[in-house]
Each structure stands twice: as structure tokens, then as C-alpha cells.
Symmetry: C2
Subunit: 364 residues, 2 copies
């Protein structure tokens, strides 16, 4: 493995810088602080592709006037247990927490709720939102669609985003079960890392521009495509495609947002993109109040038992045994909270540039 | 490929026989008819493992007094948008439609609802339930846990069921997008077919009794395990494990049903099983009223467009292009409605035996 050079920063410093930069872009301080919570939680939890590495893209969009720093977030349709929210072209990191809050408020009253969101942008790691719901003894859901990177099973054309799903279940003494997964085999971030390290990628992650499976991340060409979870016909690639489709249909047509190839990429002006079928990108947030189904402590005790049973399972050859969903992120968080967040040099450079552009010195 | 001998029956005959057999077991006629709808829909849609092939197991359970033909289905906990239903040890094919109905009634009033079910048994194909919701312009969800067949990613021990998820989205002129998928790479049914045909299975479907990946379906041994969707570490087996865990935690701890290795197998007496942590197996049904989010016709037109965009995608080498989720089942249904349902000889033999046991001649 070829290591990538990095510098390490205390998470508090990254949080402070992120919030300052967003405020400099016109985002109200409270929104900026919460957006910084989400971004730095990604860095803490080891999901580097979704953390401060994305800040430069947000700043570029704000500076170009293509994203609204002070969105007037409105409820376009409202029922007891549902709402459709218009994010007014705001950043998902600003719009998402408010829509998630509406879902939780409604679930508080009726037991469960769904809130669909259109006219939004990136909302950070999907796992953030169900973690907030856990604090209220709710099971939260979050999904989002995204720029087209993934080929439908059987095709070579990028038509779906990596469309993640996140859900979390609380334990009593055990940590929560936190599911947060792209519906592709891998996110583009993993391919990017292999490219930087000049290492091959496993067969089954991606197609090159000719539509063939490739293991060379440096030779994918402009018309590459990621593969849906399951990869190929024999291993259930149609199921990953089903999951990505499900997320897209909830976050696009149901929310009134763009879907599939129409989902706007973050960094390109909309006019460079091929048409529009809705507003911005879309999200779906769900909340289920646990005590609307079963006593909360009974539920948590069962989750504890479930976690203990899974942990006790004998390992398969070549593995060290099962993890609990959320374990790798918890392990990363423990280390990074103590020792800081490592950022690779290109990201550090990006942040310095962002600092100059917003008069917010990064590490001088 | 070694063909398996089969006989072909009109679906109406299979439906009539199934309903008669269930009535002979004590199931009320209306419940028996609906259970027959679900079972024969599986046969029609080509999901042979979930159709009349299972009837003998249900009859065995009824005859042994281990399943309640006339369950008193009760709502144990009730909120505006949620309920927990106790299936009173009834067959899932009887309990499921009633719980799904409750979810749809609640969604009619509040926009969306979830109903968790405990103390149930097999509920047939998960895809049946969202198809019912489509008739009311709702997006339906169905999940169930099941007998442990699948190893958590990184382990060799069967601890989770194949735990399917089904969701369906209606089109206006295009057929609906119908997702119905086990969260394992394949269901055991596919391995059973390979075993009968004496053909190898692809690498990545299953572990043998030693915990190693096997391609020989005749030599898996008693401690085999199916693998979660994604198969291995490189291809995202942890994601399939996350999905199977999600379904299990919803259908077990949230519903008050058994989970993981405690989910009772259909055919063995409970006392042969290792303990219990809840009641029977569990399901989760969801319903989302489309016009609680967006105008129904706008939604359906977007789904039509989505379907057309996916269909138009260029094929990957070796593929004929993307299908729409639900296409294979629709194709099977078209053929089988006209030409009849082929049943392999062991299933025909089972049905004859069932007919004798219940004084309901099958094909004399």
C-alpha cells in the first residue's frame, strides 16, 4: 500500500473553521454551526469523503450565487404524519436537519412520520440524521439521491446516484446499531483513494468507458460507471439496482426533486447539465417512535441481546468475526477525537484556499 | 443445464385446491381464499419457492396443532400512524393482509403509517403487500424476518433470515416499479434448484460447513450458511448484512417477535429450537399515501419517465440492457396465466399427499 501524506487537526479546529467559512458565505451562525457538526462528524467517523473535504465545493457554489445561504425553507404539503419540504435551493446540511426535525415532531404526535425534501443540495453523511433521532428514542431513516455515478444493473451508463440509506437502532448498554450505506458496491471516494495510492481496485466495483469491468482506477475514462451493490448478475447486482432505484424514486418523484441523470452535480452550473425534471436534489427523512410499537426499554434490551449474539458468532476463515453496523465508525471516532483528524495534503490545500477566499485563515 | 421434469397446471386449479386445503385445515373460507391469492401469485410471478410448494409445510403445522387456523388477531399497541399487531400464532398469509390493511387505513388518515406484527408465520412473497397498496395510490412496504439461513458478514454461522424487503411505485401508463428482494445474495430456493439439477452454484452464494465458500450445492453440509448481498469484504458483504439486520431489528425487537437465530423454522416443533425471545416471527408493513407528498398524477408521470430513461440505457457488454424492477415477474405472469404454472414433480407429489391428508383430491 502506498501511504498518502496527511496532516492531523483537532476536530474542534475543523469545526470552528467550517462554521466561520460558512458564515463568511452568508449562512446564519446557528445553521453554520449545525452544518459544521455534520461535516466534522463525517471526519470524526472516518467517512473522509463526506467531511471538510467537501467544504471547497460548497464555498464555490455559494460564491457563484448558485446556492442560497439563507433559504426560506417551506412546507409545501402537510399531513399529520407527512410533509413535503422545499429547501429553497439551500445546502442540504442546512435544510436536512430542519426537515428531519419536522419528521421527529410529527412522529412524536402520531407515532411515525416521513418528510420528503426537494430543492436541496448535499446533506452530508446520511447516518447523522438517525443518530439525532436516537436521542429521542426514535428509529430514524435518511435517504438522499445524488449525482449520477452508478449504472443500472445490465447497463453501462451512469444513471443513478450512490443513493445512501441510513437507519439506526438504540441499545441500552450496547452501542446503537447504525446502518449508513451507499447502495453502490462502493462510493466514488474509495476509487479516488485507490487512484491517489496508484493501487488497483477489486473487480466488480466499476465499469470503464467501454462498459467493461475495470480494476485500474487511473484508466476508467470519462464514461466510467460505478456498479450497484451485488456487482453482477450472479451475485445480485439487480438487488443493488433495486435499492438505488427505491431511494431515487422516494427522493426524486415523491419529493418533487430531480432524479436519476437529472440530479444536478454539486460543482457544475445547472445550465451545463442536461435538463431538469424537478427542483434540486431530494431527501427522505423518517422517524418512528419506539414506544408507539413496544416499551422502549424492552426494545433496547432486545437490541443489546441481538448485538451480543452477533458479536459471539464464530468468524469465517480469513475474517475476525462479525462487526456490528456502526463499529468501524465508532472506532474511528474514538481515535480521532483523541488524536485528531488526518487530512490528506490535497484537502489541506483546498482548505487553505477556502480560507483565503473567505478571509478565514485555516492553519497559519 | 439439466432440466427438471414438471407438470403444468392452470393457476385457477392451484388456487381452488389451495383454498380447499386450507379450509380443510380449519381456516375460514375468506382467509383461505386470500391466502390462496398470495400463494398462487408467487407461482404466477415465477417465485416458485414461495408458492404452492409451501402448502405441505403449512398443512403439517396445522395438523400438528402448531399453527392457529382461526387466529384472533389483535392490536396490542395503537397510535394514529402506528400499530403493533399480535397474529395469535396464525399463518402469515392470514395475518399479513389484515396488518397491511391496518397500515393502509391509518395512512389514509394521516398520510403514512407503519404496522409491526409479532406471533406470525410465513407471509408469502413480500411483493404481494405493496401491490395491494398500489391499488389505493399508496407506496407500500413489506418486510419479514425468517428462519436463520444467512451468516452475518465476517462470520460462518447462520444467524439471520433471508429477510426480504418489498416496495412498489405506480406508473401512469408504464407498469409499476416493484422491488421484492431477499437481503442475501440468493434465497435458499436457488441453491435447491441447482442441487436438483446437479449443477454448481456461483462462488459467493454460500459457505459450507467448514465456513469456506463453496460452489457445490450437494456438499454444503449441515452447518452451511448463505451469504448476505455483496458476498465478501471487497464487494460490500457488510452492506447486505446491514440490510438483513435492519429487517430483523424491525421485525423482531420492534414487533415483539423472535429475531436472528431464535426465529422459529416453519417445519420444526418449537421445542426442537433453541429458546425464544419473542412471539413467532415478525413482519413490518408500511403505507405512504402519495398525495400526502405530491399530486398522484404528477408522481406517476415522473415514474413513467424514470422507467423510460432506465429502459433506454445502453447495455453493458454481455447484458441486454437494464430491466425495470418487476419486469421478470411480469414476464413470468404473462406466460403462466396463459399456459399454466409448471410444478416440478416433487412438488406435485407433495400436493397429492396434501390432497390425501385433507380429503381434497389434487389431480385425479
Amino acid at each position: 500500500m502506498n501511504p498518502i501524506k496527511s496532516l492531523t487537526f483537532p476536530v474542534e479546529r475543523l469545526h470552528e473553521f467550517t462554521a466561520q467559512v460558512l458564515v463568511a458565505c452568508g449562512v446564519p451562525p446557528a445553521d453554520a454551526a449545525r452544518a459544521a457538526d455534520i461535516l466534522t462528524q463525517a471526519d470524526l467517523r472516518g467517512i473522509d469523503s463526506h467531511g471538510v473535504a467537501r467544504l471547497h465545493a460548497y464555498v464555490t457554489q455559494y460564491k457563484a450565487g448558485r446556492m442560497n445561504p439563507r433559504p426560506n425553507i417551506t412546507v409545501a404539503r402537510d399531513r399529520l404524519s407527512t410533509a413535503t419540504v422545499d429547501g429553497d435551493n439551500g445546502l442540504g446540511l442546512v435544510v436536512g436537519p430542519k426537515a428531519n426535525e419536522i419528521a421527529m415532531e410529527k412522529a412524536e404526535k402520531t407515532g411515525a412520520a416521513w418528510v420528503a425534501v426537494c430543492n436541496s443540495h448535499h446533506f452530508g453523511i446520511a447516518g447523522y440524521y438517525p443518530l439525532v433521532a436516537l436521542e429521542r428514542d426514535m428509529i430514524g431513516w435518511a435517504m438522499t439521491n445524488a449525482t449520477n455515478q452508478v449504472a443500472p444493473h445490465g447497463s453501462r451508463q451512469r444513471l443513478l446516484g450512490t443513493n445512501p440509506i441510513a437507519v439506526a437502532f438504540p441499545g441500552l448498554v450496547e452501542p446503537p446499531v447504525v446502518i449508513d450505506m451507499a447502495t453502490s458496491v462502493v462510493s466514488y471516494g474509495k476509487i479516488e483513494i485507490a487512484r491517489r495510492r496508484q493501487e488497483p481496485i477489486p473487480s466488480g466495483w466499476a465499469l470503464d468507458s467501454t462498459g467493461h469491468i475495470t480494476t485500474d482506477p487511473t484508466a476508467m475514462g470519462p464514461d466510467y460507471a460505478l456498479l450497484p451493490l451485488g456487482s453482477d448478475k450472479e451475485r445480485g447486482g439487480h438487488k443493488g439496482y433495486c435499492l438505488g432505484s427505491m431511494v431515487d424514486l422516494f427522493c426524486g418523484p415523491l419529493a418533487g426533486a430531480n432524479w436519476g441523470p437529472f440530479a444536478p452535480p454539486l460543482l457544475y452550473p445547472p445550465e451545463a447539465h442536461h435538463g431538469t425534471v424537478g427542483k434540486g436534489i431530494g431527501h427522505l427523512f423518517g422517524a418512528m417512535k419506539i414506544d408507539a410499537f413496544v416499551d422502549v426499554d424492552d426494545f433496547k434490551r432486545q437490541v443489546d441481546h441481538w448485538v451480543q449474539v452477533m458479536r459471539a458468532a464464530p468468524p469465517a476463515p480469513g475474517y475476525s468475526g462479525p462487526l456490528i453496523p456502526g463499529d468501524p465508525e465508532r472506532a474511528a471516532e474514538k481515535i480521532r477525537r483523541e488524536s485528531g483528524v488526518p487530512l490528506i495534503l490535497p484537502v489541506v490545500e483546498d482548505l487553505r484556499r477556502v480560507g483565503q477566499e473567505t478571509n478565514t485563515p485555516f492553519d497559519e
